[in-house]
Subunit: 258 residues, 2 copies
């Protein structure tokens, strides 16, 4: 599998999950799979995920490594009102731009809570690095933002999800990748040789192999992915021929164009 | 929160999840939370997680970056029998050691399937980088291994879990970190100022703040962590005093020593 396997015009992305609670095992992350699916459907290829603690230096280092390498970098977590929310200061440092109370963000809170002075916690959440565009948060107000190619979102899953919805239309998209999944009722080892040959013959189709274990036996999901649908069909036909020749029971699990 | 906050004698670790299926959103990762908890209980601090695709160059780069920085690096995925299982070759390249069929691993298969010649798929899974110690896999045979400070495990959760059990006793441990979780029935913004002061006064206790949203209202979990139990107790007492003074309803959610 090479970087270019699923087709040309690839728009790449990386995700930086910021949160001690994931690293300590306190929380089961729910954001990675959501963002991975949303990007896949949008034709953006998620190429790397990192999880780091709420430590400013580590966030700065990760953001700078990732933003140079990928078209987009998404971050989740660390933009709340408390002392351990250090993402925004880290982003300011990573880009070497000042961070200050943003009039647009302040207006969000003023309109949401009319007649109230904006509380210190909300003022902290209105601090935005200079040059960023806001990302709307219709659920609780406090916005995310996009600075150059870095999109900074909340860690709370349902807030992160509405932020993704707000920001996705602004992003450059690649060709969406189509996926075919074939279920083979034989262990991975039995299909390994055939799949290796198939992959070599179809360099533009990414062929993945995932074992499964059920009460009735073991088997293999073969997942074929490409931005070029006809190439997948050609590879699937050859896979079926191979499975029939080797007498391996199989069926077409699903057909999805994501 | 600084690197040394939860106490001295910290043994650090990183996790490298290898798998296109996580990045495409096909699979919800289940390994990160399991490994994070197991390490936390063992007194090993998980400091970073990365997810990369099944691309040899990317695995080599990540392993080399992580193994120099952390006491241990765990990897999951990519050690099966198919063409997209490239972890072992990547580990060999990262350490610049040869990879060959390992007599110990071959013996595992020979004893498991007596009288049968070892199949090509199993022979592929018996390829181990030179100098590695095996990690047992009582479920399906094919072993993981530990090379210097890098522990290579399967991606299938129940196999990864038995491999963790096998390898953990061999590892250096730090002082286990104790955790106290206090539930406060007030939004994060209301406790933010007090928590910042508390954190400044208790640099050896890591104080995290996690909002929650329930039908009955919003609130905050305050999580205090330290390898030094009495330090946590002192910080918790001050937190309670603060919450009572500010009239914020709260209760001691749990007391766990992990």
């Amino acid at each position: 599998m090479a970087e270019s396997d699923t087709g040309s015009d690839i728009v790449t992305a990386a995700l930086l999950v910021i949160g001690e609670e994931i690293l300590s095992g306190r929380t089961q992350d729910a954001n990675i799979v959501h963002i991975a699916k949303a990007l896949d459907q949008a034709g953006i290829a998620l190429r790397e995920v990192r999880v780091v603690p709420d430590i400013e230096d580590e966030i700065v280092e990760a953001v700078n490594a990732m933003r140079r390498r990928f078209r987009y970098v998404f971050t989740t977590g660390g933009i709340g009102p408390t002392h351990d929310d250090v993402t925004t200061d880290a982003i300011g440092r990573a880009f070497d731009v000042p961070v200050a109370e943003d009039p647009r963000a302040m207006r969000v809170f003023e309109e949401r809570y009319p007649g109230e002075p904006v509380s210190p916690g909300r003022r902290r959440m209105a601090r935005i690095p200079e040059g960023a565009e806001l990302v709307a948060n219709p659920i609780s107000g406090a916005p995310g933002y996009m600075l150059e190619n870095v999109i900074v979102m909340a860690g709370i899953p349902r807030i992160m999800q509405v932020m993704m919805e707000d920001v996705l239309p602004r992003l450059e998209k690649g060709r969406p990748v189509s996926t075919r999944t074939i279920r083979v009722d034989a262990p991975e080892g039995h299909v390994a040789g055939g799949l290796a040959t198939l992959q070599a013959q179809h360099p533009k189709v990414q062929i993945g192999s995932y074992p499964f274990f059920e009460e009735t036996g073991v088997g293999t999901y073969v997942v074929l992915r490409s931005a070029d649908g006809p190439l997948i069909e050609a590879a699937v036909s050859e896979l079926f021929a191979l499975l029939i020749r080797e007498d391996m029971p199989h069926n077409d699990e699903d057909e999805e164009t994501s």
